[in-house]
Assembly symmetry: C2
């Protein structure tokens, strides 16, 4: 049994490779929901949907989010009504948000709706939100005009403001009072291997670890936890991890990842270009495993997954 902590695109690619090399039914992915937000009254869960669409081979590879062959007629028409149209809601993607929102309004918990969506897309792994409760990443940024610091929702900072404002603090509102979704803690207890996917350590893995009980499980089972570094050659493979790590005092390198994760994992997979960092990773008390982590295609992702799982075998 394998449990994986997952954010968005990087985790989705890793999991897509993983289900090539192990029985998908043996995998439970615990996905960050602190990026979730409401647009036009619809609950949008970017990381859950990235994982779902990628595992269904339905994602848009070039754009990096949403569905391949997507259209944006509804979003264009929403502009007439003066609402915020900076968040890319595709027409087919909207069907997922409509279904999810209606089910949530009907009283279904997010983990049940997530399972329904995963089943509709033909997924065989267990896909779980980290929690059924609302947790919201809040990013405090410097105001460029000299005003007081502003606090933004994740999507506001990431999509609307294109990660431009300098970050001074990150918080996960609601996390301390959130309960891990049913199945999450059991999956962590039962797993032979727990994988921390190559996701943003601050705003993707950070919120999952902030849900009471999850970090504690990983600390207790540290020897069975292997992480994959999302930092290659001193920069994130994708996304704004560097814009978040540096201001919070995390070195933007595999070593920084090792230092951030050393309490929760005993093994860290780093990219071959960072082989020279292996000694510094080991000096943090984390065993380095060096391989190709650039998931250019499913084949590389599968090889990375095999190496990652194999590291604890």
């Amino acid at each position: 049994m394998i449990a994986a902590l997952a954010g968005g695109v990087g985790a989705a690619r890793f999991l897509r490779g993983l289900v090539e090399v192990v029985d998908p039914a043996s995998v439970t992915a615990v996905v960050n929901t602190a990026d979730d937000d409401d647009f036009f009254g619809l609950r949008v869960c970017p990381d859950l949907d990235s994982v779902t669409y990628t595992l269904a081979d339905a994602h848009d590879q070039d754009r990096g989010w949403g569905l391949a062959g997507e259209t944006f007629a509804t979003l264009g028409a929403l502009a007439r009504y003066g609402g915020p149209t900076w968040f890319g809601l595709g027409d087919r993607d909207l069907a997922t948000h409509l279904f999810r929102t209606e089910r949530l309004h009907a009283g279904a918990p997010l983990h049940a709706v997530t399972a329904e969506i995963a089943r509709a897309w033909g997924l065989h792994l267990h896909l779980l939100p980290m929690t059924d409760d609302r947790v919201a990443t809040r990013i405090t940024v410097v105001d460029d005009t000299g005003g007081p610091p502003r606090t933004l929702a994740m999507q506001e900072w990431f999509v609307r403001e294109r990660c431009t404002p300098a970050v001074t603090a990150v918080a996960f509102a609601g996390a301390a009072d959130a309960a891990a979704a049913p199945g999450v803690l059991d999956a962590l207890d039962a797993a032979d291997t727990i994988v921390v996917c190559p996701s943003n350590p601050v705003i993707s893995i950070g919120p999952i670890l902030a849900v009471p009980g999850i970090r504690e499980r990983l600390v207790a089972r540290r020897d069975r936890v292997v992480a994959v570094s999302p930092i290659v050659g001193g920069a994130p493979v994708k996304g704004p991890a560097d814009r978040l790590m540096a201001p919070l005092g995390i070195e933007v390198s595999s070593v920084g990842i090792a230092r951030a994760y050393r309490d929760i994992c005993a093994t860290l997979v780093i990219d071959a270009v960072d082989a020279a960092d292996a000694d510094r990773v080991a000096a943090e008390g984390v065993r380095p495993v060096v391989t190709d982590t650039m998931m250019r295609d499913i084949g590389v992702a599968a090889a990375l997954a095999r190496t990652t799982i194999g590291a604890l075998a």
Copy 2:
């Protein structure tokens, strides 16, 4: 000042003609909302939207509903989640429903949201729902398989079952407890002319008259009320009026319309093909006005509107 009771397509065409011949700002349209329903959690108001889109010259003329040039990507994608996809939700139309639903959830009353939508489409007439409260047409039909009678929502009977099941009764759930939307009764009091648009008398005009205070206003001001018959040559110009009138004992003719409306209007505009019915209309105590009522284009609609308003001049 002109007030108009309006259903869907027929009323929309009439109103489109009306705003060609009078100042739109002098017109208040009071629109049926008993066909409104929720699909995937979104509030859909078919008659309000038909009127809005038609007045904005944005409606699909061939299909008879929705927006011209519409696409249906979201609806197609919803099929994956097993929901009911028999109701034609277009991608651009969805923007209207999303906006309306979000505003209603935020506590805005339907009449305020309706005004916002009308403004977004550049309308200059006053568009009002008959009520801010929920009223729902319930159609009791014979069960073809020999089972007990079934009760359907309007859209279920009209769209999903294509008006096929024979109707035995029609009710307007919630109407007795509904309050006319702010502005409705004032508009009826202030109007020099009240027009009953060429709409289905049972399920479009019927629910409006069932909202307390509205029928009473028309009865009291009967001499200032002029209706346009939706029946031409013994059949509805559009829609299933005959499938609803006959079972409820209303003759499917201009005479039947005169009989149904004689308490609320003193004048009825009938089509030239029904000129021979004029005496029978008059025998019901309703003054017939004979003209071309087939609104093939805006020009005919404008001429019909001029004749209708002029009938009380």
